[in-house]
């Protein structure tokens, strides 16, 4: 009996020590997270005040240098504030609205600085700076309880889990939504971009489920006679489509085909792929060309190919206009197996609704003056791509490299009309 009591006492003691340690660990973790959240909140509050002051100050100047300095501050601070906000456990609506509004201010500052369009900036910011002031006040009220130094982490947990209606940030979310819509209405280009993404311009007749399957089997004959499960997209989907799931042997996959017009927007299958490399790169090119011919995608050109362990990813884009320019936003992607050359995937979402190509002046560039002397321009071609304002622009696409042993290679995209540098990226 004594032994039993002795053993039980030891067990209770061990359990007690263990429980104490777990509790201490949890407490430590809570304190760490509490400190991080408080730090992010302090940062966000400070940066919000700073941003609001910078926006107000930018309305003071006519002097280009002074204004450029403020615009640079605004762009940087809006980015930092976005980062601080995204580190806080806010309701998704509050966080999303904040990130969008701040992003718009930053983008506008960058655009004004790049284009020198100060008048438009000052016109917009007259309203924005007042709204920012109101938001700063509301933020101060909503966050006051988090700075009470009462070591109460539960407040943070409540914020993280609370519905927006019960959140102290409810007013901010609602005001941010209104301000974003009023202060930064969608431009025509942004609206066109959204319409393209949501396939708004497809006016073709509606097809049935059976017709959708026929479309799929015509494009991918290999899956003929598979077992299909077809469902329709949810009612709220921006564009209606058939979601076809199929099984054939060890191959499982899906295809999404628009209800209007029966355009294949996405197809992907999964099956065990042998590691053998039976299909050469030349063969993959040939198969790609055969496929685009069969599918009627006759205005496409191979842009890039990448081999990986099991398959090749091939990127193609439309070639259009008098300059035979590559239209990057009208691309398709294909996935081809390395063991048999079978089409494993096709993504034609962007190609379904083609861009309207507009003519644009082409002003030549002297690349010797454009680049430093140790740069070699290896390739130059015309492309269409979107700039930051979602406008489709005709551009020079230049592949350039340093004249040294490193062979570092860059893709530089320059607008043919205003010579704005739209993109610079280092190529692998």
């Amino acid at each position: 009996m004594k032994s039993l009591v002795y053993l039980l006492s030891i067990a209770v003691l061990a359990l007690g020590v263990y429980a104490y340690e777990v509790r201490s660990d949890n407490q430590e973790l809570k304190q760490t997270i509490h400190a991080q959240y408080t730090n992010s909140l302090s940062n966000a509050s400070e940066k919000l005040s700073y941003l609001q002051r910078s926006v107000a100050q930018s309305l003071l100047f006519q002097d280009e240098k002074a204004l450029q300095n403020e615009l640079d501050n605004i762009w940087r601070t809006s980015n930092e504030l976005r980062s601080s906000i995204s580190n806080l456990p806010l309701n998704p609506d509050v966080a999303n609205q904040w990130l969008r509004y701040l992003g718009k201010i930053g983008d506008e500052a960058k655009r004004a600085a790049t284009e020198g369009d100060y008048e438009s900036w000052q016109k917009k910011m007259t309203v924005v700076h007042q709204n920012l002031e109101k938001l700063t006040d509301e933020w101060t009220v909503a966050t006051a309880q988090f700075f009470e130094n009462d070591r109460n982490f539960d407040k943070w947990q409540q914020v993280a889990k609370a519905d927006l209606e019960e959140s102290p940030f409810k007013n901010i979310a609602s005001n941010l939504k209104t301000y974003t819509e009023k202060d930064f209405p969608l431009t025509t280009s942004e609206s066109d971009w959204l319409k393209k993404r949501d396939l708004k311009h497809i006016r073709d007749r509606e097809i049935t489920k059976d017709e959708a399957i026929k479309v799929l089997e015509k494009l991918v004959p290999g899956i003929k006679d598979a077992t299909y499960t077809v469902s329709r997209s949810k009612e709220d989907a921006p564009y209606p489509f058939y979601h076809i799931q199929f099984v054939k042997g060890s191959c499982i996959g899906y295809a999404d085909i628009t209800v209007k017009g029966g355009h294949l927007i996405s197809f992907l299958s999964e099956r065990p792929v042998q590691p053998d490399k039976n299909v050469t790169q030349e063969k993959v090119k040939e198969l790609t060309k055969q496929f685009i011919q069969r599918a009627g995608y006759d205005d496409l050109e191979i842009i890039e190919m990448q081999e990986n362990h099991e398959s090749w990813h091939v990127r193609l884009a439309r070639v259009a206009g008098k300059h035979r320019a590559i239209v990057y936003p009208d691309g398709i992607q294909m996935k081809i197996s390395k063991d048999s050359g079978e089409l494993l995937g096709l993504n034609a979402m962007e190609y379904v609704q083609k861009e309207n190509i507009k003519d644009q002046p082409v002003i030549p560039i002297d690349w010797k003056k454009f680049f430093r002397p140790n740069t070699i321009v290896e390739q130059e071609r015309f492309i269409y791509t979107e700039n930051e304002a979602y406008q489709l622009r005709l551009c020079y696409e230049v592949i350039a490299r340093f004249k040294d042993d490193s062979n570092k290679t860059y893709r530089v995209v320059v607008d043919t009309e205003n010579h704005d540098v739209i993109k610079v990226e280092q190529l692998p």
Binding site: S83, N96, K234, D236, A237, Y254, L268, H309, R401, R411
Partner: protein, 266 residues
Amino acid sequence: MKRRKTFIAVLLLALLIGAIPLMKPEESSAFSNQVIERGAFGDDVIELQARLQYLGFYHGKIDGKFGWGTYWALRNFQESYGLKVDGIAGPQTKKVLVNNSDFDREWVHAQINAGREFTYYGGIPLDQQVKKGKTGASKSKSYQLPAKFTERDLQLMANAVYGEARGEPYEGQVAVAAVILNRLESPDFPNTISEIIFQPGAFTAVADGQIWLTPNERAKQAVLDAMNGWDPSENALYYFNPKTATSKWIWTRPQIKQIGNHIFCY
């Protein structure tokens, strides 16, 4: 006596000739019959890069990825050796390359498999060409990715996909990866993949620690397909499991489609 001396001399000569292959570094021409060009990946490219580096034309990493660095190095080699300058390693180019360089396949692959930083220049002892420490990529498979993504992005996204959707069909895994990338394009979300994944409350796998599980090959393939443009979610920004979701807010989002246990919405 004279005959005996001649016999010994002939024997020594034969031994010497027989020993020559043993004195040369082990070499094997493992090039397959395939024509190698930009975009290619694998053992042929490793051999190509190693041989080009041996001759001093290639100064990049020997990683089996035929990118632009390899392309310019190959062109420079072709130019120097009077070959057709096209940046494509066909039979003639490979032959000249093999005749003028050495390739210790076993050693090169051992360094790659061990994740070591190394070079393969001719005329320098191999043990002097291995840097101390590892690249961090040891034993994990390497992939060719679109220019805007890094291997770190792939790893992080594969962790998220595996943690969030390992029981889902392949399509559902690609869709989860696509949601992360759609957020990257959206003005409503942070600017980097890391910030998106670790945004508080954004992903259940981060909250319950399942993001730290080691992702399998399938999750990596799913991320690779999403990075290459596939989006089975059809532009979704959110998804949830209707059986387990506790947030009322998520039900207010317009829904697009259901894949496996997840409803995708925007």
